[in-house]
């Protein structure tokens, strides 16, 4: 059955991607135009949906849009089964594709079975015995490094900060689950010269062996049978579209005798990519450093999103960002296996080349088939869940356990996350080694990859160059990162890209080397990060750090040199100045997770606008999906443009006029940004009007009717919503912003920030107060009883409290606050907030409780207690000692106290009972 799904990738027609950048004007840019020269049998994505069998024939696979829906029924059924059965087992099953060879790839069923039957999760997906060996050697090296307290801070920090931090973690190893992972970070002192060093020695792992995917067998390599199938199917499709280009990717200079601590590097960055526009192939990945195992789908998304979508009007340098969904069971795990293999090969070039040869051999089997195509339900399921995965700064930074398994629920970060706790970053190796023993965390083994999304930060350069074939130099340098902070990564990519254009690949190596020396990112910390002759000063705010602390340029403690790792360094005023009166409406929309689409003339405006929108509700975190720059080529295109179901809660930033049609059914539209002055065809419908500024009032003339294939209307900045604003606007603020010419844009932005921070504060006040009322009283915490629980959040009770003391009273602002609360309580932002509060409260309670237990006068208490009580307390103490939720809070001193308590109780128990409790003294 599965054999049917084996495609001969070699027979695919050369993809036609020439339409990608040439997607010039108007709505003529129907995505399916990319079929033009492919000669595929099925040009209509809709038809493909109906007629999945076309798939096998291949040829239409350059259609990135239809790809999720192509499937054969039989394959779909198996894919579905894989998902049902293997969700937990195969979270990083991607690894095994790496070396399982062509036979496995040709037989998906068998492979799936094998995966399922693998009782040891790590065994099922290792490359080979060598890899197993290497992995264990790595983990043992970590632990030895742990016990020795780590190497000293090395040259990276004269203050010795790093070394100290590391050893203190090593000392805490026993009590802090996270810290177990920490010691491997010592290895970023590249001097670790032990045989089990965790450095990726690229000499030892030849270029080919690290190439993320070769054409042909590429997707098979990346995706194994049990992996959620949406990814697979898409990857298959991608091979048509990008497969050819990937042959051209060069991963590392052959001569590079470098050693990069990928583990340390990946705490901040996933990789650096150079995307070029190939006249034959369209966007293609020219170079990637360090070699990173992204899935084909991820790579395709990165390629397409790194270039302007709809025209070539962005002359000069453009910096923008995007967000893509991560394929499941993705890179980190695969990198692990690969690196493990390389390390296992030893540092000798000889054995390493075996690795290379083996993988190389695999590449030469082009007909080895990729995994089964997607079942639509599987895809829907994945995306629906992921759609509600919050972006949460705390969660993403704290959930360093690895990529959160989508299947495990969107909020799985919660278990481990605790506000303001230092978080031990996890090395890929140790994380893999340690999590593989637990079925629960199986699917989340990974590294710095911490959420279901990856972020791209693009520096796109387009300049005239008569020497080139097309007369233009067009290239992007992209930082792919697990975190969205545009202020940091935008700065970083702006430093790296121009130097790269001047100096070439060694520059990327040098930059990566610098980054791999950076200490791990933690909330509430300040950093000085050396990079390419500059020292960036960064603050990663703590979870609930007030934005006013750093946002207001007139604040006394404002230091303009410090970059803040937040989403909200967008100059709100300059982005939204044409639609200021509607900004508060947008605040409401973002607050209650209403879908919004933002039309802009350029990716830069688009990403600023989208990030600006989600930052409106600061310090509340936006919990739905947002795409600061979304194109027709994004693999989620179909999902977001589908009309046959409700519009997903998301914010999309788009530039391609095609979306006017494709997203017409989205209820809320925002048009911002001055049209670019361009030589050739413009974006959304219009000629540069230059009059955008005057469009201060909502303009209804922007025709968004599906019938208008090429809207003739002027480009006018406006906000069109199918939503009735509930809260009264501040006219005074609007007047001030409109008429005070003396204020700079950034001062006006600060005013706006203040306004919205106050508004959010007023809105959240009652929620905070009500939540506080649900907490047990401190005096109810007793060492002799179980931990008291929080009371339940009852919406009705809460709304009653609002009627008495809501924002209408506290802020004096009129409006339908109750209605707004009702909508909010239904939306993911509330869920995310509420769960964060619960986590925080439970942690605080538990900490208090543990402290009380430690301080308790046990000697007094045991005096008059019978056996029953004694044993009960004993069991409870033991539970606390082993409870992971508690272990984070148990200091060595507390642990000794617990030990003393236990000894005391035991001494009061008769000998026979002691024995039956398993204690031998």
């Amino acid at each position: 059955m599965m054999e049917e799904t084996n495609f001969d990738l070699g027979s695919f027609a050369t993809p036609s991607t020439s339409a990608l950048l040439g997607t010039t004007a108007g709505s003529s840019v129907h995505p399916s135009t990319s079929h033009g020269s492919s000669g595929g049998p099925s040009d209509d994505p809709d038809r493909e949906q109906d007629d999945g069998q076309q798939e096998g024939g291949g040829g239409a696979n350059d259609d990135l849009l239809g790809m999720h829906h192509r499937q054969t029924t039989s394959a779909a059924a198996s894919a579905q089964r894989f998902i049902d059965d293997d969700d937990d087992d195969d979270g990083n099953a991607g690894v095994d594709g790496g070396a399982d060879g062509a036979m496995d790839q040709a037989n998906g069923v068998e492979r799936g079975n094998r995966n399922r039957s693998a009782t040891d999760p790590s065994g099922g997906r290792l490359l080979n015995a060598g890899a197993i060996h290497s992995r264990s050697s790595i983990s043992s090296s970590s632990s030895s490094s742990n016990s020795s307290g780590g190497r000293s801070g090395g040259i990276a920090s004269g203050n010795g900060t790093r070394g100290t931090a590391a050893s203190s973690y090593a000392n805490r190893g026993r009590f802090d689950v996270q810290s177990v992972y920490e010691p491997t970070t010592h290895h970023f002192e590249k001097r670790a010269s032990s045989p089990s060093s965790t450095y990726v020695d690229l000499i030892a792992a030849p270029v080919e062996s690290v190439a993320p995917s070769a054409s042909g067998s590429g997707s098979a390599l990346g995706h194994s049978g049990g992996q959620p199938s949406a990814v697979n199917a898409s990857a298959v499709a991608d091979d048509g579209g990008l497969g050819g280009t990937e042959d051209g990717i060069v991963h590392g200079d052959g001569e590079a005798a470098e050693m990069l601590d990928v583990t340390a590097f990946s705490r901040w960055l996933t990789c650096l990519c150079v995307i070029t526009f190939d006249l034959e192939l369209g966007q293609s990945m020219e170079y990637m450093y360090p070699p990173t195992r992204l899935t084909d789908l991820e790579k395709a998304n990165i390629c397409y999103l790194s270039f302007p979508d709809s025209n070539s009007g962005c002359m000069g340098d453009t910096v923008f960002s995007f967000r893509i969904r991560k394929s499941q069971g993705t890179d980190a795990a695969r990198v692990n296996a690969l690196v493990a293999a390389a390390v296992a090969g030893g540092s000798s070039a000889g054995s390493a080349s075996r690795v290379g040869a083996r993988l190389h051999g695999e590449r030469s089997v082009p007909s080895a088939s990729p995994a089964p195509p997607a079942s639509p339900s599987a895809f829907t399921r994945v995306s629906r869940t992921a759609g509600h995965v919050p972006f949460s700064r705390s969660a993403s930074l704290q959930d360093t356990g690895g990529s959160t398994a989508i299947a495990n629920g969107a909020y799985s970060a919660g278990g481990r996350a605790a506000a303001n706790l230092p978080v031990g970053p996890i090395s890929t190796f140790s994380a893999d080694a340690s999590t593989s023993s637990s079925a629960d965390s199986d699917s989340s083994s990974g590294s710095g990859a911490v959420s279901n999304f990856l972020y791209g930060h693009v520096f796109f350069r387009q300049i005239r160059d008569g020497g080139l074939k097309r007369g233009y130099f067009q290239k992007s340098v992209v930082i792919v990162s697990p975190y969205p902070y545009p202020s940091l990564y935008g700065k970083l990519v702006s430093l790296i890209a121009p130097e790269y254009f001047a100096h070439g690949r060694p520059l990327l190596e040098a930059a990566s080397q610098n980054i791999s020396r950076w200490p791990a990112p933690r909330l509430g910390e300040n950093y000085e990060l050396p990079i390419l002759g500059h020292v960036l000063r960064l603050r990663i705010p703590a979870v609930h750090e007030k934005p006013s602390f750093y946002q207001m340029s007139n604040a006394p403690d404002h230091d303009p040199d410090v970059i803040h790792a937040t989403l909200d360094d967008v100059n709100l005023y300059s982005v939204f100045k044409a639609v200021l009166p509607d900004l508060q409406t947008l605040w409401e929309l973002v607050l209650v997770c209403e879908p919004i689409v933002v039309f802009s003339p350029s990716p830069a405006v688009s990403s600023n606008a989208v990030l600006g929108l989600i930052s409106l509700i600061n310090p509340l975190q936006y919990a739905c999906d947002f795409r600061s720059y979304f194109t027709i080529h994004d693999s989620d295109f179909k999902e977001y443009t589908a009309r046959n179901r409700s519009v997903p809660s998301a914010i999309l930033g788009v530039t391609n006029p095609y979306f006017i049609k494709a997203l017409h059914h989205w209820p809320n539209h925002v048009v911002v940004g001055e049209p670019l002055k361009r030589q050739s065809s413009p974006v959304p419908g219009a000629q540069p009007s230059g009059s955008g500024l005057s469009a201060a009032a909502p303009v209804k003339s922007f025709a968004l009717s599906p019938a208008s294939k090429r809207p003739k209307s002027e480009w006018k900045q406006c906000v069109q919503v199918q939503y009735k604003p509930r809260i009264e606007r501040s006219k005074a603020l609007l007047k001030q912003l409109e008429f005070d010419a003396s204020m700079s844009d950034s001062a006006k932005t600060a005013l706006l920030r203040q306004h919205f921070a106050a508004l959010t504060d007023a809105f959240m006040g009652p929620l905070e107060r009500y939540f506080a009322s649900l907490l047990p009283l401190q005096r109810h915490i007793s060492p002799w009883k179980h931990l008291p629980a929080l009371s339940r959040f009852v919406p009705e009770d809460f709304l009653k409290s609002v009627e008495q003391l809501g924002p209408q009273v506290t802020s004096g602002r009129k409006g339908d606050w109750i209605g707004l609360y009702k909508a909010f309580l239904e939306c993911p932002n509330f869920k995310e907030w509420h769960q964060g509060k619960q986590r925080e409260a439970n942690d605080r309670l538990r900490k208090l409780y543990l402290e009380k237990v430690c301080e308790a006068d046990l000697a007094q208490w045991v005096q008059d207690k019978d056996e029953l009580h004694l044993v009960d307390l004993l069991v409870r103490l033991r539970e606390e000692m082993t409870n992971p939720a508690s272990q984070r809070f148990i200091t060595p001193a507390m642990s000794r106290q617990f030990g003393a308590h236990i000894d005391l109780i035991l001494s009061k128990l008769p000998n026979d009972l002691r024995a039956s409790l398993g204690i031998h003294q």
């Binding site: 000293s152 001569e255 190596e509 990566s512 002759g533 500059h534 000063r537 230091d559």
Partner: protein, 212 residues
Amino acid sequence: MASYNYSYIFKYIIIGDMGVGKSCLLHQFTEKKFLPDCPHTIGVEFGTRIIEVNGQKIKLQIWDTAGQERFRAVTRSYYRGAAGALMVYDVTRRSTYNHLSSWLTDARNLTNPNTTIFLIGNKSDLESQRDVTYEEAKKFADDNGLTFLEASAKTGANVEESFIETAKTIFQNIQNGSLDLNAAESGVQQKTQPAPAVDLGDKPAANSGCGC
């Protein structure tokens, strides 16, 4: 960890042929330890240390460049804005000494005129393998207006002195006005505020001296 306070930041670069011991000198200076097996530097490494010169606390930001030719173009972009350049050769390998004039040309061309260039003959502990005499190098230094010391990253001899003497010279230049702190790429940043605006914990606040 103690919170440091300091009045200046100086940017240093360390340059010289591959294998002369640049990274080991840096490591010896920042960690007071010798690294016996030091792999090649990729691009540029970074280290900091706070020293005291004439009662002033000075934070040194030291960029240790790769000697490999492959990175030569890359490392050149680090020269900009350096207040001090430590130019290193290996007393046991004449070729590394012979290349000094090329390194010096780079340093002169790519840094500002007031950059203090300090010549270090490293591996002075390997007396038996010496290939370049002290006198010869001293003459080269004098001819080119450089300060010169022979040092050993292994024993630590003269390592502190090299870094600190360089800082003293820079500080003098500041005092006598020959180094203009307001110049865009002086490589020196003076801390004007008494306390950092943001509490940087054990990572002292500083306006970096390199325009970022």
